[in-house]
Symmetry: C2
DNA sequence: TAAAATTTGAAACATTATAACATTTACAGG
DNA sequence: CCTGTAAATGTTATAATGTTTCAAATTTTA
């Protein structure tokens, strides 16, 4: 797997998308899960940028596809994709983003730029370790971590108002 | 300030509430902010337990007070309380909880028990440090951290189905 | 092929949050 | 005490997000 694209910088994003779809197909096959056309299309839509997309945004895109979908269609597809580690929900934004570590067993940490809206997913083992330590010091059995950092990406610190 | 009550264990919760209200009055005075009757009442309602309360739950309680309130009343009060560091919003639950470190300048980390619903707010400097490190390694200027851990509290690990 | 399980369609509804504008209240200066 | 101003609250409507339910179609299994 090659070096990961940085959302904040221009890059060949088509490569991000096709890599994500290729990975998804492999992962679903391995897990005996069915990446149906709707699910694949939703994943593709989610990956259209590195900015999280709301469920109703996905719905609107499906509609402009000519697909007459209702909310449950989208939420089901998103549930499926989450279940199989292909997308993450960003709780602080009520929105969804493609996982850049699909298949890698990880706990995502998300850097969310409040200016450009792009999100970078990191794996930070040191953070996970400290979180686990803090939880177990309280006797708490951690199952699921939501870690979302809002702030300014390097690009927007230098030069505001990027897309 | 005495040792903090552990939400997961029985304790004199009236003491939690009155401490929180006393602290809130002092903090607002120091900040020249007006802790009006509505705001104080909302804070008291939020503190009625260590389980996060939804905005519409607050609304319902206000109504049963005989106060004929609409959603904006509650959201405004909650915004005020958040602004002054008296309550936190738990993004993964769309709900609000009293801050147990009001006035202490901190980044909250929340241990959310999925069985009993209680939430413990921690300050974990080591976690904050690692989060800061991970962000700055990416050149990201972190401004706001959402850190919520769902799992099982000690009590519910031992003995399920507590309230 | 027939039965079973999974996936999708469709309609209604529930929950959470905000916009917009009117009214009231608190406060400072005259 | 009045009065102008800003802050806070009331009120109505609406937007945004997410779920329940049941029916129909599709895929898988036997
Ligand atoms: Zn890309
Ligand atoms: Zn991921
Ligand atoms: Zn208590
Ligand atoms: Zn706090």
């Amino acid at each position: 797997m090659s070096a990961r694209a940085i959302p904040y910088r221009p890059h060949n994003h088509d490569a991000c998308v096709s890599q994500a779809l290729t990975d998804a197909r492999a992962i679903c096959q391995r897990q005996n899960a069915r990446l149906t056309p709707i699910r694949e299309r939703v994943l593709e839509l989610i990956w259209q940028s590195h900015k999280p997309l709301g469920a109703y945004d996905v719905l609107a895109e499906l509609s402009s596809d000519g697909h007459n979908a209702a909310p449950p269609t989208v939420y089901r597809a998103l549930d499926f994709l989450q279940q199989h580690g292909l997308v993450h929900r960003i709780a602080s934004l009520n929105a969804f983003i493609g996982c850049t570590h699909a298949g890698e067993h990880h706990t995502g940490m998300f850097l969310i730029c409040r200016a450009c809206g792009n999100v970078l997913e990191l794996t930070a083992p040191a953070v996970s370790t400290e979180v686990g330590k803090a939880a177990s010091e309280e006797g708490f059995r951690a199952e699921n971590t939501t870690l979302e950092i809002a702030g300014l990406c390097p690009r927007c610190q230098a030069e505001p108002d990027h897309d």
